[in-house]
């Protein structure tokens, strides 16, 4: 047997083993995964330019995380930051997302080197309350409840967009198209006999691209004050007093959360990622998650800093903010482009959250995910109940309840990830051995601790309003 044949055989055996690890990966053929492993090995030795484009082509879970994170909530917070504080809070974005990436790297380690399913391991070492409860069911609740906000924004945007195009489709009708489209994409993920995972990843990449082009064009129309921009990116500033502490904690801890950690981990398993994919996974975290999140936020904040901040206009909701900015853009096509860019956010978030919800519910109850089963379809489509936001608005009491749940539990899920990353039983010799990596993870969970404490202090009346 020649050396090349031995290598091919090794890659094929490795692929077969990786596919067995997670049911959603079973739609991948061993030959295709073996070819991907060979490509990844070859790219590791390739010159930087070739490696970059090669990795970009193979990336995916990172973009899914970015597209899922960049939703109505992030948009609202970026718009408000720009409208209220101009460029001055840009530094929080890269700092918060940068810290979040350390935990995403832990998720990548669990996927690539651990080969285990993280919720099952949390259940084993940290108990069902932390694994199935705070982590998996927490993600499922977030997926269902926060999708109301996505529907509220998306249906408003479609109404505004179609009115601008001259054939207004009211939100009481356009929600149907939204449900059909996002449900179809959600159910495509991991479907047997198709390259569903690949198509969903391509769609998410496309959404990120649309956001960047749309908001980039918006900024080109309104202009940028580069001096203020760079000052905002590199010189930390916060409002004086308790308001500054509150804004920092709320903005920094909202960048990335348990859903993102879980989604990245399981989306990696669904791609059949193993030990040889870890560098690719880290590339995907930086290029697929970090950069899109930072750039989209920068663009939105800058657009609102240049317009509403200068005009001292302070609308309250994302819909009002978007509608207030549109006329400032002037030209017809720039308004359309802006609406399309904003629309990409809630649509991609709905798809990402629905996939995360299905995965999380299956992990919480120890069910094997089978995308052809009725159980998978029901759990994946649960967040679609958000369409009710068209008539009843967002269920504020539920959002407050889930917000409270998240505030006081997110840090404990973070503790669990940190402990697994340092656990010899979980990762053996592949446990974290880097001081800097651990430091990043600990800083992130300290930030999440602060979110939990702020919430408790404010409920106890010890935090200024």
């Amino acid at each position: 047997m020649t050396r090349a044949a031995v290598e091919t055989e090794r890659q094929r055996n490795e692929a077969v083993d990786l596919i067995r690890r997670y049911p959603l990966a079973r739609t991948i053929s061993a030959e295709n995964l073996a070819t991907e492993i060979a490509t990844v090995e070859r790219l590791a030795e390739a010159p930087p330019g070739i490696r970059f484009w090669g990795y970009l082509k193979l990336s995916g879970p990172g973009f899914i995380v970015a597209a899922e994170t960049l939703g109505a909530g992030t948009l609202m917070s970026a718009m408000l930051a720009g409208a209220n504080f101009g460029y001055r809070t840009l530094w929080i974005i890269w700092l918060a997302m940068g810290l979040g990436c350390f935990i995403l790297a832990a998720s990548a380690r669990f996927t690539c080197q651990g080969g285990f399913r993280v919720v099952a391991l949390q259940n084993r070492y940290h108990g069902y309350l932390v694994g199935s409860g705070l982590t998996a069911l927490g993600v499922a609740f977030v997926g269902v409840v926060f999708n109301f906000g996505q529907y509220a924004l998306a249906t408003h945007l479609i109404e505004s967009l179609t009115t601008l195009l001259g054939f207004g489709v009211p939100r009481t009708i356009n929600w149907v198209f939204l449900v059909l489209f996002t449900s179809w994409l959600t159910l495509l993920y991991g479907r047997s006999g198709t390259r569903g995972v690949h198509y969903v990843e391509v769609f998410m990449k496309g959404c990120v691209l649309v956001m960047l082009i749309s908001f980039g064009a918006t900024l080109a129309v309104v202009g940028v004050s580069w001096r203020e921009f760079f000052k905002g990116v590199f010189i930390p500033w916060l409002p004086r007093g308790a308001e500054g502490v509150t804004i920092f904690i709320a903005s920094a801890s909202a960048a990335i959360g348990v859903m993102d950690w879980l989604l990245f981990h399981y989306a990696g398993l669904a791609r059949g990622w193993g030990a040889r994919h870890e560098t690719l996974a880290r590339f995907d975290i930086v290029v697929g998650s970090f950069l899109p999140f930072v750039f989209v936020n920068f663009l939105v904040i800058a657009a609102f800093a240049e317009t509403l901040h200068r005009l001292s206009i302070r609308p309250d909701t994302a819909q009002e903010l978007a509608q207030a900015l549109a006329p400032a853009l002037g030209a017809y096509w720039s308004q359309i482009l802006f609406y399309v860019g904003v629309l990409a956010l809630p649509i991609s978030t709905t798809v990402g959250m629905s996939i995360a919800t299905a995965i999380a519910i299956h992990e919480a109850f120890g069910w094997e995910p089978d995308t052809s089963s009725l159980r998978w379809k029901i759990t994946a489509l649960l967040p679609q109940i958000g369409f009710l936001a068209v008539w009843y608005g967002r269920p504020l009491w539920l959002i407050i309840l889930i917000g409270a749940f998240l505030s006081v539990t997110k840090n404990f899920a973070g503790w669990s990830f940190y402990l697994l990353l340092n656990d010899r039983r979980a990762l053996g010799e592949m446990r974290c051995k880097s001081y800097v990596w651990n430091l990043g993870v600990v800083l992130e969970i300290t930030l999440l601790n602060c979110l939990c404490i702020t919430y408790i202090l404010s409920r106890a009346g010890l935090w200024p309003e």
Binding site: V245, Y435, L439, I445, T446
Partner: protein
């Protein structure tokens, strides 16, 4: 001397105990910071919280042996 964070003390590993102390330290730091920012009081609480938080973070960043 490298600290062994994996040894068990009582029901938990030392690493987990430090996570708990860090949470308490974060609470002290935040409460002190917000009081100091509002009315200039609680400086001792702020300094104690900041010191304890820094020590905990440095310890927790140590990888296991």
């Amino acid at each position: 001397m490298i600290m062994e964070l994996e040894r068990t003390i009582g029901p938990l590993r030392l690493r987990v105990w430090i996570l708990v102390v860090n949470l308490v330290a974060n609470a002290l730091l935040l409460h002190g910071a917000v009081r100091y920012a509002s009315d200039g009081t609680n400086l001792v609480e702020l300094v104690a919280g900041a010191t304890m938080t820094s020590v905990c973070i440095m310890l927790l960043a140590l990888p296991s042996k």
